[in-house]
Assembly symmetry: C2
């Protein structure tokens, strides 16, 4: 496998992604400012360009969004800031009867020439109270459709069989296998 | 007065600011992507640098934030996205008993050498329902402390006597008067 750098500061994400891809991937932490947008695709594309500019090697970046139906798809990619301020408990509490939500992950691969973006989504709902291990903030709030448990109550293997992130990264894996590389 | 460009795509903001400053100011619209942050200061500083890079003339940029106490200061500078998705009615509805909020405006002036940032804040609360003219989205939701009316129910003159934006721009005006220019 060619040298590709997954740019993330999140150790849990790195661990999860290595499991999904099934091969070792290089890793680096870079300070990159994400742009404000409700389009996850636009955010990861911009992030991938900025990451490539810094290290001049093929990069992978990923970002996630949580679309809450009752809030007309807010906060989407801005979920991170809801978590950092309001927090997951308060978010669960605020929601009324309609708890329908959608999780999305977008992965961008960029090697200076080719920009490839892969998305994965999972429908589900927001739990009344956060439950499970504190791995990712809103994993404790998200119950994928057809399940009773939150992502945070599943083992990593269980989660990786169905998650938005694994869908996106499996698409990337497929692409990397079929492409001859940069 | 030296040539300074106020960078905004919002005609109502431009009108309001011209009234506050009391002199004509040049105006331009630029496509600038704001960074994700809960720090308004950081956002306007970044925006001012990007604006200056594009036009190479002294620029003024402004951005506002709405901090909702019950939501632990969310959404702050991300209020724009709450408005674009959830909307002002839904936001008013979501809030319970504690409706305390703070409005902030940050203005950045940058001439390629000097970066000056001026902030203005107003305490107040969020109305039960949006009221008044549709000038700015959340003007219809914000009741400044000591008043019964929302900003949107005031004339522009009334609002400009007390608003976060006028406080920030009057500080800028003071600076521009006292400085000898770039």
């Amino acid at each position: 496998m060619k040298e590709i750098f997954f740019v993330t500061g999140n150790k849990n994400k790195l661990k999860e992604v290595r499991k999904i891809l099934g091969f070792e991937i290089k890793h680096t932490e870079l300070e990159i400012r994400e742009i404000q947008s409700m389009s996850l695709r636009e955010i990861v594309e911009d992030k991938a360009r900025k990451a490539f500019e810094k290290i001049r090697k093929p990069v992978i970046v990923e970002d996630t969004a949580l679309y809450i139906k009752a809030w007309k798809n807010f906060p989407g990619p801005l979920i991170r800031w809801v978590m950092e301020t309001m927090g997951v408990e308060e978010m669960c509490e605020l929601l009324g009867k309609n708890r329908v939500a959608k999780a999305e992950a977008c992965v961008a691969y960029y090697d200076g020439k080719r920009m490839k973006i892969f998305s994965g989504t999972v429908r589900g709902e927001i739990a009344k109270n956060p439950r499970g291990r504190k791995r990712f903030d809103w994993d404790r709030a998200f119950i994928p459709k057809g399940f009773e448990r939150t992502f945070a109550e599943m083992t990593m293997e269980e989660k990786n069989r169905i998650s938005h992130r694994s869908k996106a990264f499996l698409r990337l894996k497929e692409y990397l296998k079929s492409s001859r590389g940069p």
